[in-house]
Symmetry: C2
Subunit: 113 residues, 2 copies
DNA sequence: AGTATTACATACCTTTAGGTTATTACCTTA
DNA sequence: TAAGGTAATAACCTAAAGGTATGTAATACT
């Protein structure tokens, strides 16, 4: 095999790299929902009721693999897994704030949105 | 007809609204490439050689319709059209800066990216 | 008459993101 | 023994994003 592991495409542009991680439909909402807390899988499901389970774990896995989230699995039954933001992940919170402010202003200025 | 004009879906969340505009593959790159200048269509094509013409006009149209870009068409032949950032559009530049910084740090910390 | 220039349109196709539903592993407790 | 609770997986499908290729309008210049 030439290339085995599926990794995000090496991108020269740091903005594209960041967007590959936080640009999707759910990433920011998940990151925002975790914030400074530790959140269990089921807890996130309840916090974001419109997300499908598939997308939730898929995103959690991606964010974990890219160093945005910590994942702590307790050896218990029924399973218990806690997600929290890493040092890098915490850096996204102010970006989300900025985008939120921008979005709010945009809606105010543009009745079409 | 019930709903005629195609508009971006009314979204309760300002972050989603913002992402619908700047979350795609090309929007930020286009906005960044315009910056504080006036840029012609062909000029942008040259600045972003990897974008297809279709995506370029498509995005320029979307950004114009959502109040991010000004479009000034000169009545000349061959055509001449200049795009520039609106007041709202300019607000995206610092967001892009933030994301760029974040992406750069992320790449530094994560050799997988 | 023919060619070049420039912004844009249109038809068609491929790829990716995201959604739906069902299923599993494991232990505890009724 | 059966049911319940939790995190995760797999198969399958739809819709949307994006890419390729070609065409058009209008005029000036040769």
């Amino acid at each position: 095999m030439i290339e085995n592991k599926k990794i995000l495409k090496k991108d020269t542009c740091p903005v594209s790299t960041a967007l590959a991680i936080i640009g999707g439909k759910w990433s920011m909402l998940i990151i925002f929902s975790i914030g400074n807390e530790k959140r269990r899988f089921g807890e996130l499901k309840r916090l974001i009721p419109t997300i499908s389970e598939k997308m939730l774990i898929q995103e959690l896995k991606k964010l974990t693999n890219t160093g945005i989230l910590n994942r702590k699995a307790y050896k218990e039954i029924p399973p218990k897994v806690e997600y929290s933001l890493t040092k890098d992940g915490l850096k996204i919170l102010p970006i989300i704030d900025q985008i939120k402010i921008f979005g709010t202003e945009l809606i105010k200025n543009n009745s079409n949105l």
